[in-house]
Structure formats: structure tokens, C-alpha cells
Symmetry: C2
Subunit: 320 residues, 2 copies
Amino acid sequence: MMINGREGRALWFEKGKIKFIDQRKLPYKLEYYTAETVDDCCFAIMDMVVRGAPAIGAAAVYGMVLGVNDLEKTAYKLKKTRPTAYDLFYAVDYMLDNIKNCKNPLDAANAYVEDIVDKCHKIGLNGEILIKNNMKILTHCNAGALATVDWGTALAPFYVAHRKGKKFFVFADETRPRCQGLLTDWELEQEGIPHVVIADNAAGFFMKNGEIDMVITGADRITANGDFANKIGTYEKAVLAYENDIPFYVAAPVSTFDKNIKSGDEIIIEERGREELAVINNYKIMPDYTKVRNPAFDITNHKYVTGYITEKGVFEKPCF
Amino acid sequence: MMINGREGRALWFEKGKIKFIDQRKLPYKLEYYTAETVDDCCFAIMDMVVRGAPAIGAAAVYGMVLGVNDLEKTAYKLKKTRPTAYDLFYAVDYMLDNIKNCKNPLDAANAYVEDIVDKCHKIGLNGEILIKNNMKILTHCNAGALATVDWGTALAPFYVAHRKGKKFFVFADETRPRCQGLLTDWELEQEGIPHVVIADNAAGFFMKNGEIDMVITGADRITANGDFANKIGTYEKAVLAYENDIPFYVAAPVSTFDKNIKSGDEIIIEERGREELAVINNYKIMPDYTKVRNPAFDITNHKYVTGYITEKGVFEKPCF
């Protein structure tokens, strides 16, 4: 990913510490957060210093390195930080297996992270084929490099297509409550890809008016039948794309597919605090009396999905 | 409408001036805006001191009173303030007709406004029948008393049902970009009706989870075939309600029906400035580099509408 004109990453391990781009501060400020302990790392995941299922997985493997002296407790703490991200559980178990098999913890963690980056690049290569010149493409939330260490999932095809010289235009949903669309905006701006941010309410308008040719989102968890959990609002955009005959693709590494879960009905949805909706960048936008409900994710039925863009190819159904 | 425990109105005429609740300041502060001239009144409409098609109509009739010395110029100025609100054109033409027929301008304007309030109350009486005990009802934007001088359109059934002692729960969409859901929140809070505000992205989630039994919105313009223009995002919620077999009602006075327009395809949609999306209550939530597109309204096809709640009754199709 480009950061002020140089290649960079959303997080990395350096001198016994985890360094994160502090995504709570973006897009307003580019600041870094350093995790020196497991608790710091758990805080980074819970408070969304780091976000996006693959990046959370990367944080978790490095968290296991920090907590290598008490693996059971570290694994327990990390696993309870966020309930929806399957990558988190996968990453912790990966580290437990590797350490049990006497692998060097940092080598194992680095291999996991390089593997994520490589998979995201391949998602980009596979998804790029779907992007034709002059297309207008909608994305929701931020499934970019920030969410996956580098390249992203939903945004990876954009980066590959752009670097190949293809011309296209991106609509980025603002993605209330946390406005992660502004992270997508920041990434696309850094990369020089033409785009606008729109209110989540406007996505349907642009679809109906023929201004959107394709939708690509990420996924936090994909079940055996292809239903998937992703940022709240994804379900709305998928239904609207379906209603308007617009192809809807989900981009995710194969590790996001959870074969143990039959369908979306089995996924528990996390409801988060009112502050996410009521406060933006420390500024109160809602009065104190305002009550909210704030589900963080929703489930989209597989019937709305045209295809799954993975590192192994683009598939109409989960087939792993 | 209740304002701090007393009955009040969104706007009224007093001693040669128009007084408005300044809706740009709500819900943060309850302040009033005074229009002494036609230009003040045009500013109030354009800058959304007053908003909602019927309230804009009420502002326009009083604007015609202020500009009675040059009716042609006043009519021209008022009509060009907002392109989508049919009530605005209707109100200006009503005043031109009445003044041509030698009616006293202020009497004519007051009669128009009382007629709006009476119609809204009747919309409430007709719509209230649809509300059953323990229902959960979604509304979008603010089609309340603030938008119609008193009672509201979409909210009028809530007020009548609440005052009759019915128990129900309201989900209010935040309604980005301008967050008019917070005006609905303010009104419902004043009235003591149980409710929460949700992100626009969450409406689909609650519908899919069986937590919403009915949707009621207002309309800015309804065409001969029943298609209607309303606040951006209404189309999304209508499609989602349809997909989830949830009744979707549009509440509006008969004056909102524009028989001269065959279908929604003929309505021109206003795109507004980036500040609406980028700034909330004078606080910048988006960086300066962020580009946006900001359509203010969308068109919902009549096929998604269960019925139209009007002062003349509830109808499956426009039939006036």
C-alpha cells in the first residue's frame, strides 16, 4: 500500500513490539500505536486500532509472540476480543499448533503474515479480471490494505487493475457508524484511484440510476453455504444489487470460509456501544438523551452473491 | 407537537414576521429564526432552517405575504429555492390565485397553514388504525411536526396512537447525510414515545431479523402512478421492506400527489453540496481532500408501496 508516496503496511513486528497504523486516528491523522504486551494487543483489537478480519489475524499471531510465556492465557485473551472475526480464532490456533510443533514463534507469525499478504495479492490478481475499463464499482466499509496488512481483499482488485493502467471509478460507502469508508477514501487517495464517498443511503440511488456496474465487499466470516457476515449495511447493498441486476462479489481469503458453520443463521451478531454512533472522532454528534441500537455486522444470504473472489480463483459457490 | 412540555409549532406568523424553529440547530439547541423579508424566507428554505415539503409550503405562503408588493418576483424567488418539493409550487400558486381573487393575503396564508395542520391530524387518525399494540415500526428521515408545522405525516399516526394509549416502538433511521433522524429522535423524545436511532445501514438487519413490522415514511412528491420522491435512502428501505415482506406505507397529504407527472422517471433529483456529508453541526468529519456525491432524494417505485396514508384515507393506489 502507498503511504505518503512510499510502500508501507498496516502493521508489523519490530524489536519485540507490534507497530500498528492507528486506524482510530485515520483519516484525520497518520499516527502509530505500539503494542508491547498481550493486553496492549488485545486493546488494539477491541478498540479497533486495528480492524478487518485478516489484519486482526495478523495482530493475533504477533500477540501470541508477545504472550509466548503463557500461551493458554494469551490464546484465551486474544480469542475473546472480537466475536465475529473467524480469522482471529484461526490465527491463534495456527500459532498454538506451530509452537507445539517446536516452530520459532516469530518465524511462524511472520510466515502467517506474509501468507496473508500473498493471498491478498492473489485475490487482487484474480479479481482484477472482473474490472473492465470505464466500470463504476461500489465498495462498502474498508476491506483494503489497512484491513489486511497490505493489498486488501475487496480493494486488492482495484490496486492491481490500477497498477495495470485500467481506468475505473469507485463509489465508497461512508459506512456508518464508524465511517470506515473514509479509510477506503484515504487508501484510494493515496493510490490515486478516482473515487467519491457517498452516504450509505445513496448506494441504492446510484444502482437504480445505472451508475454502478459491480459491487465488491469483503467478508468477516463465510459459512459453508456461502452466507457471510460483514460490516453492517452489506446486506442492504447486496439486496439492492440483486434487485438492480448488478453483480455482487465477496472478496476474501479461503481462511475466511468456516466450514463448521452451515449457514448465516448460526452466526451471532455483535451489538456494540452507543458511542460508535453518537461520537465521530471524539465529537458528539448526538445528544446525550439519544438511545441507539448498534449491530456491528449483518448476514447476507448467499443467494445475493454472484461470486467469491479468493486467492484460489473466483468461484460461484464455496468449494474448499 | 410538544416542545419542552407545551404545545408548539415548527413555524408561525407573528407581527409581520415569520418565526421558525431553526432546524439547523436542532437537536443540539432549540433556537428560533426570524424572517423579515422574502430573501430571509428564501434563505430559510434553501439553508434548511425549515425542511419537509408541507412546512416549506407553509413558509412559502407566509413568504408571499412578506413579498406581497411584488408578487411576481416573490413567486419567482420562492419557486427556485428547492426543486423537489411540489408543495412549494402548490403553495405559491395558491397564494397567487387567492390574491388575484382579492382575498386578504395573511388570511389566505393562515387558512393554508391551518389546512395543512388539519390534514396532518387526519393523516394521523387514518394511519393510527394500522398501528397495533407491540408493533415495531421503522421511519426514515423526519416527516414529523417539524416538517409539517404540526403533527407530521409519517409521525402523525405515531402521535395519535400514542395519545390513544397504544404501546409500540419506533426505529428511527439516522438519515445521513443531514441526520434528520435526530429530529425524529427529538420529537419522539419530547412526546415520550419509546424509540431508538439506528445507522441507516442497520435497517435491513432489523428487518431481516423480524424486528420491524411496518415502515412509514413521508414523501416529497408522489407521481400519478404512485412512484414517489423522498429523502435519499427511502428507496433502499422500501426495497428491503419488500424483500422481507414488511408493509411499507407512505404518509402524505393529497397535495403531495402531482397528477401532471406520470412516473418517477420524470422527477429531477437535486444533488447538494459536499458540506452536508463532510460537516455535522459545524464539525468537519471528513478530510478536505474527500470528494463526495450527494443526491438529496431518491425515487421509489410504486411496486414497493403497500399503501398511501392521506387525509382522505389509506389507499393502495393514488386515486384522486
